[in-house]
């Protein structure tokens, strides 16, 4: 009875998690793997934006770059320097993969900040696939490059002999937990930030505190722009760290 009395009047005008609903774009009905949903739409927009910047933007190949070309060159140089600094010069041949990850994540994070848009990276299904692919790629690369020496990653040779088996178990757990933390970090950060903005937006319906709410939304939005970039950066730099472990598994 108490729950009925509360009902819909006292709750928010809209639910803060409504924005993460996956809905079919055309008509109603269940979502199958081939259904075109809002996720499909926004992922396509992300890819189009990436093509617009990197392919169309740098098509001129001018000596004095245009605005679009200098942004594309800046992004290229940023990721190139990151993989060179963190992983080493010998890992530069894996640069295309790292660049793809960074550009895709940063674009979907930023496009998700547009009003009424859908943040594809706020879903663990999306980031999970990215993280599991990184995990599989790194593990297979480690075994292909180093053979059984890759297992030295789990055998901490600098520790005393007595604690090494215990450390091996801990290292093994921390290795297999990588895709979990890698994916949930990105999805959780995006989801939490957008939900907070929506919660403040819900307060705007109450006239007395609506100015406070609008200021809070503005502040949170600024923070979210920062978070959108930093999370893409963190995802990419952790990929570089995992690549370094795969190429040089000395502990």
């Amino acid at each position: 009875m108490a729950t009925e009395a509360h009902g819909s009047e006292s709750s928010l005008v809209f639910h803060p998690m409504d924005q993460f609903k996956v809905t079919p774009l055309f008509g109603e009905g269940p979502v199958h793997w081939y259904t075109i949903t809002n996720v499909t739409l926004w992922m396509a927009i992300t890819v189009l934006a990436v093509i617009l910047l990197l392919v169309v933007g740098s098509r001129g190949r001018a000596i004095v770059p245009s605005k679009g070309q200098s942004i594309a060159e800046l992004a290229y140089g940023f990721v190139y320097k990151m993989i060179e600094d963190v992983t080493g010069k010998d890992a530069v041949k894996y640069f295309p993969y790292v660049m793809t990850l960074f550009i895709f994540i940063v674009f979907s994070n930023m496009l998700g900040l547009l009003p009424l848009s859908f943040t594809t990276t706020s879903h663990i299904a999306v980031t999970g696939v990215l993280a599991v692919l990184v995990f599989l790629f790194v593990t297979i690369l480690g075994f292909v490059k180093n053979g059984s020496k890759f297992l030295a990653l789990f055998w901490v040779s600098s520790a005393p002999m007595a604690v090494r088996p215990l450390l091996a178990v801990i290292e093994l757990i921390s290795y297999f937990v990588r895709p979990v933390s890698h994916s949930i970090r990105l999805a959780g950060n995006m989801m939490a930030g957008h939900a907070v903005i929506k919660v403040f937006a819900g307060f705007a319906a109450i006239a007395a505190i609506s100015p406070v709410s609008i200021v809070a939304i503005t502040a949170m939005y600024g923070l979210e722009v920062l978070v959108a970039f930093i999370q893409a950066y963190v995802f990419t730099i952790l990929t570089c760290v995992y690549l370094k472990d795969a190429l040089h598994p000395v502990h």
């Binding site: 108490a2 990151m82 600094d85 963190v86 937990v177 979990v180 933390s181 949930i184 970090r185 959780g188 930093i230 950066y233 963190v234 730099i237 952790l238 760290v241």
Partner: protein
């Protein structure tokens, strides 16, 4: 006043996982604070260590994320 005691425990548990957020906050704050105090002592070395800063933050944050994961599992999987 009716309901299911398991449901009650579930929601209390989900609320308790918010304590993990405090742990992650202390960890990330510790990383950033120590970076800043080091960077102010030797500003010329600061730029080369920003990558390490973010890696350290990410590792500290990972444990906070696991508490979020526990909350998600309690809410939707248990």
């Amino acid at each position: 006043m009716e309901g299911n005691i398991a449901e009650l425990g579930k929601y209390i548990g989900v609320g308790l996982t918010a304590i993990g957020m405090g742990g992650a906050a202390m960890g990330v704050g510790n990383v950033a604070g120590n970076y800043l105090s080091g960077a102010l002592r030797n500003p010329s070395a600061a730029a080369s260590q920003t990558a390490t800063l973010f890696i350290g933050m990410a590792f500290a944050e990972a444990l906070g994320i696991f508490s979020f994961l526990v909350a998600l599992l309690l809410m939707f999987a248990v």
